[in-house]
Every structure is written in structure tokens, then in C-alpha cells.
């Protein structure tokens, strides 16, 4: 195993050298770094050209210039003792500084989108695999291919038009037209009909109920102005938290384990009880550190509740208690953000148009943790949605295929034959194994993500790795360009290795030979 890793790393270094040379030469010949100066008619044009030539070593041919760059860059790859010098950009910034800032922006942009697309994509894939050839399966397949084939800049344009410009217009009214309510009801009804199973009568009843609930909710939201002054409150937390808890219990333990169900519900109840006391902790001086700390406390409390319920399988109770507490705590947090929402929307810098189409924050907006947190979210929501819609399609297809393959395996039939419940067959026997091929995919994708989402960054005016790369390429500023290449190249190879190793760990049939 160790030998294998060392061999892979050694090959990686060779590849890195060769490819960095190739990229350097290609980029150097890709454009003219003096183009703008050549068009200048200032009398000092020659002096400016001389200045830039000196700054970029343009008098050295690219093949040799690569080694000038390499001399500093090699310190970044050698782990000990050497200093990392990736040079400076044309504007005079240290490339290492540019990189760290760009990576932070990229991570901010892609983290939520990645997590959401993995979770939702896999869930959709699994569900559509379980309901193969149903209306739902066809629907998910259709949507997956639709989003997969849409270019991201086009998705972004649509999102900006409907998710930001028109949604902000709509917020001024914040009530739904009767046509919209009926249409939404019909759509929800159809989706639920496709997803539900059982006799036609049950399915009609269920989907009818869902449609009616949707319409009533929309009416209520419109009439109460909920969108302008949103809140959950204790009833909301009990209701939504309770539903989540029941769902979690169904997936992990099944309803036969009453203790598990009760520990989940108790955790939600505790969250509702501490709702008022906790408000004073969530004051204006809150921080992400505090939130993370509270999150840990919540998990522990939930686990303790699960433990206290006892029974033959305490670990199940503990997991359900902890998860339920975590989600209920999340709802309390969400409620706290909602309390600050009207203040945010009415802020003079926001001017009643909360959803933003560019950048990662409103310039000059510094109004404490909650409002600034909302500001970040209103800026991230559209790019996150755009990235998610496109990436989600891929995950749902992979997980559907993987799940279908597993469900046709002999050991699944065996599990059914020995009388395991359908829940147990799906969740325990099939689901876990279906995730193995996805683990490689995800490991690889995460490596690629840091490379930045060039187009998404551009249309949403984020300045992450993709923008750093493109802008450097346009003005043929090789130092930042090579910096991006170095980071993405190393990450790609490392995660590739991680994916291979992960596979051998997860799947006993695969073994790495040293």
C-alpha cells in the first residue's frame, strides 16, 4: 500500500513538471502582453514597454522563462525548508496572496452548491431507481438531462431574471395571484402522484391532499405577509422539526422502534422549550464560532436524549436523537435569521431588493452577524442554485444507475428472502453499497471544484480561481496563471489518488497491490 502511494506520488511529480512546462509555453504564446501599450500614442510608450518587458522578463524566450519561474515555484512543492515564491502579478500582488484569496472565494461559492447537489442528487437518484419506469423516474430523468444540457450562463440568466429581478418585484406585493396558486397546486399534485405508490385511490387522495395543503399554505403566506416578515416560532419548529424527526426515524430505524421515534420527537420538543431562552445567546455579538459550538452542544444533547430512552438498540436512538436535535437546532437558527429579515430588506443599502445578482456582499454593508449573514446568503443563493442545478443532474444519474445495479444483485434477493423489511433492504443492504462508486466520483469532483467555476464566477462577478486564471490568461500574466495551474494540478492528482485509495478501503473486492 505504502509503496503504491509513493509510486503514484513520484509519477505525479513528473506529470506536474511536464504539464506545467506545457501550460507555460502554451500560455506564453497565447497572446501579446504588450498589446494595449502598442496602441498607445503617448510619447513615453517606449518607456512603458521597457518597464513591462523588464517586469515580465519578456526579453527571455518563454522556454527559458519557464525555468526562471520554476526556480521560485519549486520551493512550493518541496515540503521542507524551501521558501515558496510564485512571483508577483503584473499589478504587483504576491501570487500566493492572490491564490489564497481566490481559493477562499471559490470555496465560499462552491461549498453549499456541492453539498446540496450531492445530497439532493443522490436522493433523487435513489428514489427514481426505486420507482424505476414510474412517472417520477421519467420526470427526474427528463429534468436531469434538461439541466445537464443547459449551459450554466443560460441557467444564470434565467435565475437572475426570475430568481432576483422578478422575485424582488414580487416581494413588494408578496401575495400570489389565484392563477399562480392553482397552478402550483396542480404541479405539486402531479409530482406527488408520480412519487407515491399504492392503489390509484390512495395515490389520488395523497396527491390531492398535498395539492390542497400547498394552495392553503400559499394563500396563508400571501394573506399574512409572511414573505416580508417571515418566522417559524415554536409552532413552526414543532411542526417542521417533528416531520423531519419522523422522516429520519423512518429511514434509520423504522416505526417499529418506538423508542427511536420518541427520542427524536423529544429532541425536537427540547429545541422548542429552549427557543425563548436561547434568543438572548443569539444576540448581535454572535459569531460562526458560537453557532458551531451550539451545534456541537445540540448534537450532544440529542445523543444524551437518545441514550436515556434506552432499549435494545441504543445506538439507533442516539443517532436519531442527535440528528433530530441537529435539525431542530437548525430551525431555531433559521428562525433567528428570519427575525432579522425585515430589518435587512428595509436597510437603505438594500432598498427592498434583497436577492442580489452580483458579488459576494453589498459594498459597505456591515451591520452585525445576523444582517451580514443574510447579506451573504442573498448573494450566494443564485450562484449556488445555478451550480447545483447543473451538478445535481450528474449525481442523480450516477446514483440511479448504481442503485439499480445493486438492487438486482443476488444478495438483495437473499435479504428479501430471509424476511428483512423493505426499509432495511433499501437502506442497509443496497444504499450503502450503491454509494461506493459515488465516493470516487465525489472525491474527484471536490479536487476539480477548487479549480473554480469560470463561467459561473464571471456571470455572478465572483473572483475565485476561475477568474484569476482567465484574467491572467487574457493579459498573458503568467505568474498568477501558473499559480492557479499549480494548485489545481496538485489537487487533481491528490484527489485522484485519494479516490483510488478510498475505493480499495470501501470495497473489499478491490485491493491495492504494492
Amino acid at each position: 500500500m505504502l509503496g503504491y502511494v509513493i509510486r503514484r506520488l513520484a509519477i505525479a511529480v513528473v506529470i506536474l513538471f511536464a504539464s506545467s512546462f506545457l501550460v507555460y509555453i502554451l500560455a506564453a504564446y497565447a497572446g501579446d502582453p504588450l498589446e494595449d501599450l502598442r496602441q498607445s500614442r503617448d510619447p513615453n510608450r517606449e518607456a512603458l514597454i521597457a518597464q513591462r518587458t523588464a517586469a515580465l522578463n519578456l526579453d527571455v524566450p518563454p522556454v527559458l522563462r519557464y525555468f526562471l519561474w520554476l526556480r521560485g515555484a519549486i520551493g512550493c512543492v518541496v515540503p521542507f525548508g524551501a521558501t515558496c515564491d510564485l512571483g508577483t502579478s503584473l499589478q504587483g500582488f504576491e501570487v500566493t496572496e492572490l491564490l489564497s484569496r481566490a481559493i477562499a472565494q471559490t470555496v465560499l461559492l462552491v461549498t453549499a452548491a456541492t453539498i446540496l447537489s450531492i445530497v439532493i442528487g443522490i436522493a433523487l437518484g435513489i428514489i427514481s431507481a426505486l420507482r424505476q419506469y414510474s412517472g417520477l423516474d421519467y420526470g427526474v430523468t427528463f429534468m436531469a438531462f434538461l439541466f445537464f444540457s443547459l449551459p450554466v450562463f443560460w441557467v444564470a440568466v434565467l435565475l437572475k431574471e426570475f430568481g432576483a429581478i422578478r422575485f424582488n418585484d414580487f416581494l413588494a406585493e408578496a401575495s400570489f395571484s389565484p392563477v399562480a396558486i392553482v397552478l402550483a397546486g396542480i404541479v405539486v399534485g402531479l409530482v406527488v402522484y408520480g412519487a407515491s405508490y399504492g392503489t390509484t385511490r390512495t395515490r389520488v387522495l395523497v396527491s390531492g391532499g398535498a395539492a390542497a395543503t400547498t394552495m392553503v399554505l400559499m394563500l396563508g403566506i400571501g394573506a399574512s405577509g409572511w414573505l416580508r416578515t417571515p418566522f417559524l416560532g415554536i409552532p413552526g419548529i414543532l411542526l417542521v422539526g417533528g416531520l423531519i424527526s419522523v422522516g429520519v426515524t423512518f429511514l434509520i430505524a423504522g416505526f417499529r422502534n418506538k423508542r427511536a421515534l420518541y427520542s427524536g420527537l423529544t429532541a425536537v420538543g427540547v429545541a422548542a422549550i429552549v427557543y425563548f431562552p436561547i434568543q438572548s445567546v443569539l444576540g448581535d455579538d454572535a459569531s460562526w464560532l458560537l453557532i458551531a459550538g451550539l451545534g456541537v452542544v445540540t448534537l450532544i444533547v440529542g445523543a444524551v436524549i437518545g441514550y436515556a430512552f434506552g432499549g435494545y438498540d441504543r445506538s439507533q436512538n442516539i443517532r436519531i436523537g442527535a440528528l433530530s436535535a441537529f435539525f431542530a437546532g437548525g430551525l431555531v437558527l433559521l428562525d433567528r435569521f428570519m427575525q432579522s429579515w425585515p430589518q435587512y430588506v428595509g436597510h437603505p443599502r438594500i432598498r427592498n431588493r434583497p436577492i442580489s445578482t452580483v458579488g459576494s456582499s453589498t459594498p459597505g454593508f456591515d451591520e452585525g452577524f445576523w444582517l451580514s449573514g443574510i447579506d451573504t446568503m442573498t448573494h450566494l443563493i443564485l450562484p449556488t442554485a445555478a451550480l447545483m442545478l447543473v451538478a445535481l443532474a450528474g449525481y442523480s444519474r450516477y446514483s440511479r444507475a448504481s442503485m439499480l445495479e445493486i438492487m438486482n444483485m443476488d444478495y438483495i434477493r437473499t435479504a428479501r428472502a430471509k424476511g428483512a423489511s423493505e426499509r432495511s433492504v433499501v437502506m442497509r443492504h443496497a444504499f450503502r453499497n450503491a454509494l461506493i462508486p459515488l465516493a470516487t466520483l465525489i472525491a474527484f469532483d471536490i479536487g476539480a471544484l477548487i479549480g473554480g467555476a469560470v463561467i459561473t464566477e464571471n456571470v455572478f462577478a465572483f473572483t475565485g480561481m476561475g477568474q484569476l486564471f482567465i484574467q491572467a490568461l487574457v493579459i498573458v500574466d503568467l505568474n498568477p496563471l501558473m499559480g492557479v495551474f499549480l494548485v489545481t494540478g496538485i489537487l487533481a492528482m491528490v484527489f485522484n489518488l485519494v479516490a483510488d485509495l478510498l475505493y480499495s478501503v470501501l470495497d473489499p473486492r478491490v485491493r491495492v497491490k504494492a
Binding site: Q39, Q51, Q91
Partner: protein, 586 residues
């Protein structure tokens, strides 16, 4: 009207407006005895005005060659006061609330500059001798060695040292008044010195390790030009690199302002926030309380941001699509205009084909200039017109018209294939045209020329290349289509482009008369005379069939109707030229 009288007129109007502004503060209860306009008597609007810019801010010192980006100049422009500013008709307007300058003598050319005692940096330090001396040292290149290869080179100044290079060490009368004496007359003396991009001397001195501003003054007055000097090198090093930042610097001395506004917040690659400079006492006090600048590279994204009410003023890349889109938005004002960049075709005088004047004339006669503008530019800027002068642009108004009337460009106003065929007399010369094949407008220009010139018998070879810039002046082509960017004010570019030894003369053009006139132009301090010389050069260029000019690049500014006072400006300052007049509707 000549430029001088126009300048005087503008100064007069400016002064009137300024007195009106000044009276507004002191006479809140005055009963309208002055001639103040409505705008001047109105209350300040306050509020935040948000501007979208394409490129991100990188440095507080755009006078450094590497950091000489438009965006840096725009931001710094709100943070510096100067003796003059340029208005959107390209006139020089004096700001006497900051300081004054005076032409004392024409021979030798002597100019005095006086900064008002009320003009201070935002930390209270006076703008005086040290600041002027440092700025002079930067703009004159006085201390640099004669041979740039041998060094020493101190300040990496982005502008030209041509003008102040003619001056001796300035003399001071008190701390506020400086006298510059030129060794020979200089045509652009009025814009040669200024404090519009000056760095505070007391800060530069301290950051460079000197004791204080007085030490810097002493250093500058005693250092020997052309010889290495460690202390001066430290000063120059800080000046060259010390102002590079795109986050809020921890050292507030980097943020000092002498202008109406001062940076209050910066987010790297995202935004710069400008607030009011409390210590500003000049006349160009802004209507708004705050201006935020957001950096949005993508044109479609800027338009969406304007529609979503996230920004108030945008200047997206003008294309047919963007113009159509912004014209369809409610509640915004679209300002269409021309930039000072213009496309032109130059004929190579060292090519065999164009050595013959008849062939040059014949070629120019085939250029479908009207058609090029009509097809390529009018869809973007409906007011676009063919440029008919090598030295002036339509944006310059009367000066342009006067030159066009006499420069002989009317001979090429229309395509005349028959006349071209007559001149060619049956010959079929091959012309290789160099252009940027990555620029769609240049590609289309080339196609239109090719189509038209072929009719007269020319064989047009496609010399288009994405790497066209490095081919310029190498003699591998017979004609080249590319763009020049004019500064709009100043004449230093003329010998640069058209004299035999000019650095921008890629066409090997050589005309002794033009050379003589260009040299004369550079030593002409009277602006009427200078314009007369330029008109003569213009006529000679067209007479020699030097080449032809096509069009000014279109410009586009869109602003929300919530903002008033935004005016189109053709030069690189863009809408920022009158930022103090922007106001918000309440």
C-alpha cells in the same frame, strides 16, 4: 471659438457656478440675490450612489506604469484636488478653490503654481512645497540617468516626462508657491504639472525611512541627477510599489485624500466605498454622501445588476446586444456617445506597392468608410460619424470641423472606383493588410475594404493575425488597420505618430514639412497658433495619402433615473469627470 476662448468661457461659467456653490454654504437664508442655478441652491441630496466598473481596483498610485489602470485613476480622481480638471467637451477647467497657476513669461517659459493655504491632506498636513517638489521629481524624470539602460531609473512614471523634463529645479516663494522655468517653450505646459495624482510627501518620506517631509525636500534639492542615491531609491521604491493594495490597508496614511472623497472600505476584487472627506474645503463638494464602486467584469451581469437595483450607473461594453437590451429597460437613461479611441488604416510608405502616390490615392478612394460606419458602428451608436481627420476627433467639436474644412479629406468622402481605376491605369497591385483577427469589427472592416478595393483591381491579401501587435512596424504588410487612443487634451502625440523618427510611426512615413511643423508645434505655447499648425499637418497627411480614419469606438453609459447629473464623457475618466454633481432623487 478657439480652444483658449472656450477655456476662458468654461472658467467663467465654472467660476460662476463655484461662487454659487460657495454662497450656498454661507447664506442658507439668503434671498436669491445671486445668480445661482437651481442645482446650486438645492440642498445636498445625500445618500449612496453605486457605480459598476469593469476592472478591479489595484493601487492608489495609478501614476506608476504597472498600475496605470483607468479604474485606479477614477478612484484616485475622487481623492485628489488639482489646479485643473477636464470637462466633457475636453476643455481645461481651472479649480481655483484648490490653487492657481499663471503664465509669467513666454520666453523663457515660466509658470507659477500656488496652492491655497486652505488646501490640506485629510490628516491636516498642508499641501505645499514637499508635495509639489516630489510630484515634479516624478513627472520630470529629473534624477534619472540619460541612458535608461545604464540607469539609475527612479520613479516608474506612467506618463511622459517630455514636458517637465525641460524644466530646471523649481524655485519656491514661501511654502505654497512654485515657479517652473522651461529651457524652451512647451506646447502642453498647461497640463505638464499638476497634483491630480500626487502622493503626500510627508507619507512617502516617512515610509521611505526619511525623518520627515523637510528631509525629503532637502534630499530632492541636493541629490545629483543621474547618479545612484540610496535614499532617493528608497523614496522611489515606496512610490513605485507602496500603494499597491486591494484591501483596506492597516496603515491609514496610504489613504490620505486631498479631494472631495476618501476611501472608507475596500473588499478585494469586489468593491471600493468612498465617503466624504471631512477636511475638504474646495468647491467641488459632492452632492451624495457616499459612492460605492462595484467591479463587475461581465457586461450582461452589469445590466442585470442595474435592472435589479444593485447599481445606479453602469458603462457596459457597447455591443448591438447590450444597446438593444438597455434601451428596453424602464426607469433608466441611456447615454450613447463616442470614445476617444478610433480605428484607422495606415499605408506603409516603405512597401513597394504604396511607394507610388497614385496607388495610395487610388486605394484610399476605394475605402468604403461611410459603409463601414453604417454597418458596424451605427447599430451601436446611432449618432456615429466617419472621422475625417488624422489629428482631431468629432468629440473635439469646432476644432475638428475647422480642420476637416481645409484638410482635403473630402476627396475621399465617397468611394470612387472609376477614379481609382484611372489612377491605377490597369495595374493590379497586391496589398497585404494587417489587422487583429480576434476583433470582429476589424475583421468586418477588412472584408468590406477587400470587397470594395477588389472592384478597382487591387488584390487584397488577408494579413489578419491575433498577434498583429508584434508585427507592427516590421514591414511584413502594406497597410494596417488598428486603433489609436487619443488623450483628447495635449499635443505630444503628434510628433510621436507623424514625424520621421516618431515612436508610433509604424508606416515609415517621412515628410520634411511635417517634421518641421511637428517640431514647431512642440515649442508653440499659444494655443491658437498650435491649432493652426496642427491643421496644416492634418492637410499635409491627407495630401500625402497617409491613410484614412474610420470611426470613434462607441461608448455607452446607462444610469438609473434615481440619479441625476450624470453626463457622458468621451475620455478615459468616463462619467467620473463630474462625480461631485451626481445626486440622488429623494
Amino acid at each position: 471659438m478657439t480652444r483658449r476662448t472656450r477655456i476662458l468661457g468654461m472658467v467663467a461659467v465654472g467660476a460662476l457656478a463655484l461662487t454659487a456653490c460657495a454662497s450656498q454654504d454661507s447664506t442658507d437664508t439668503a434671498t436669491g440675490t445671486d445668480t445661482a442655478t437651481d442645482a446650486a441652491t438645492a440642498e445636498r441630496s445625500g445618500g449612496t450612489i453605486r457605480v459598476a466598473e469593469t476592472n478591479a481596483f489595484t493601487s492608489f498610485n495609478p501614476a506608476v506604469g504597472a498600475n496605470n489602470l483607468d479604474i485606479n485613476s477614477k478612484v484616485l480622481g475622487t481623492m485628489r484636488s488639482d489646479f485643473i480638471y477636464i470637462d466633457n467637451e475636453l476643455n481645461i477647467v481651472q479649480d481655483e478653490s484648490f490653487g492657481t497657476y499663471e503664465l509669467v513669461s513666454e520666453d523663457p517659459l515660466t509658470v507659477t503654481y500656488t496652492v491655497n493655504e486652505s488646501s490640506v491632506w485629510s490628516d491636516g498636513n498642508a499641501i505645499d512645497r514637499g508635495d509639489m517638489l516630489l510630484q515634479w521629481a516624478v513627472r520630470s524624470g529629473y534624477f534619472d540617468g540619460d541612458d535608461p539602460e545604464a540607469g539609475p531609473t527612479y520613479f516608474q512614471y506612467a506618463g511622459s516626462t517630455e514636458g517637465l523634463g525641460l524644466t530646471e529645479m523649481p524655485e519656491f516663494d514661501g511654502e505654497q508657491t512654485m515657479t517652473l522655468t522651461y529651457s524652451q517653450p512647451y506646447v502642453d505646459w498647461e497640463i505638464a504639472f499638476g497634483l491630480g495624482d500626487a502622493m503626500p510627501a510627508h507619507v512617502v518620506a516617512e515610509q521611505a525611512g526619511l525623518a520627515d517631509e523637510a528631509a525629503l525636500v532637502e534630499l530632492l534639492e541636493t541629490a545629483t541627477p543621474g547618479e545612484p542615491n540610496e535614499e532617493l531609491q528608497a523614496v522611489a521604491d515606496f512610490w513605485n510599489t507602496g500603494y499597491v493594495t486591494n484591501t483596506m490597508p492597516s496603515d491609514e496614511s496610504l489613504l490620505l485624500s486631498s479631494g472631495p472623497m476618501i476611501v472608507t472600505d475596500m473588499v478585494a476584487d469586489q468593491s471600493v466605498t468612498l465617503g466624504l472627506n471631512e477636511s475638504y474645503g474646495g468647491d467641488l463638494a459632492p452632492q451624495a454622501d457616499e459612492i460605492t464602486v462595484r467591479f463587475i467584469g461581465d457586461a450582461a451581469a452589469t445590466i442585470a445588476a442595474l435592472r435589479n437595483g444593485e447599481v445606479d450607473i453602469i458603462a457596459p461594453q457597447p455591443t448591438v446586444d447590450s444597446v438593444t437590451e438597455v434601451q428596453g429597460i424602464d426607469g433608466v437613461t441611456v447615454l450613447q456617445g463616442s470614445q476617444l479611441a478610433y480605428d484607422h488604416i495606415d499605408l506603409s510608405f516603405d512597401s513597394e506597392v504604396f511607394a507610388d502616390a497614385n496607388v495610395r490615392e487610388a486605394f484610399l478612394l476605394t475605402l468604403p468608410r461611410e459603409q463601414i460606419v453604417d454597418r458596424l458602428i451605427r447599430p451601436i451608436n446611432e449618432n456615429a460619424e466617419v472621422v475625417n481627420s488624422q489629428l482631431y476627433l468629432p468629440s473635439e467639436g469646432d476644432l475638428y470641423t475647422q480642420s476637416v474644412e481645409q484638410n482635403g479629406s473630402d476627396a475621399y468622402a465617397e468611394v470612387d472606383i472609376e477614379a481609382a481605376q484611372e489612377l491605377l491605369d490597369g495595374a493590379t497591385p497586391t496589398v497585404r493588410i494587417l489587422y487583429n483577427s480576434d476583433n470582429p469589427i476589424r475583421v468586418d472592416t477588412f472584408s468590406l475594404i477587400q470587397e470594395s478595393a477588389s472592384q478597382a483591381g487591387f488584390v487584397i491579401e488577408d494579413g489578419g493575425s491575433p498577434d498583429w501587435g508584434s508585427e507592427l512596424g516590421t514591414g511584413t504588410y502594406d497597410a494596417s488597420i488598428f486603433g489609436w487612443i487619443s488623450s483628447g487634451v495635449g499635443n505630444a502625440g503628434v510628433p510621436q505618430l507623424f514625424s520621421t523618427t516618431g515612436g508610433g510611426n509604424y508606416s515609415a512615413y517621412s515628410n520634411e514639412e511635417v517634421d518641421a511643423l511637428a517640431s514647431e508645434l512642440m515649442v508653440t505655447t499659444d494655443s491658437d497658433e498650435a491649432e493652426g499648425i496642427k491643421r496644416q499637418i492634418d492637410a499635409l497627411l491627407w495630401g500625402d495619402a497617409y491613410g484614412a480614419t474610420f470611426f470613434q469606438s462607441p461608448g455607452l453609459v446607462v444610469h438609473s433615473d434615481d440619479v441625476q447629473g450624470v453626463e457622458y464623457m468621451p475620455n478615459q475618466t468616463g462619467v467620473w469627470w463630474n462625480f461631485w454633481e451626481w445626486s440622488l432623487n429623494s
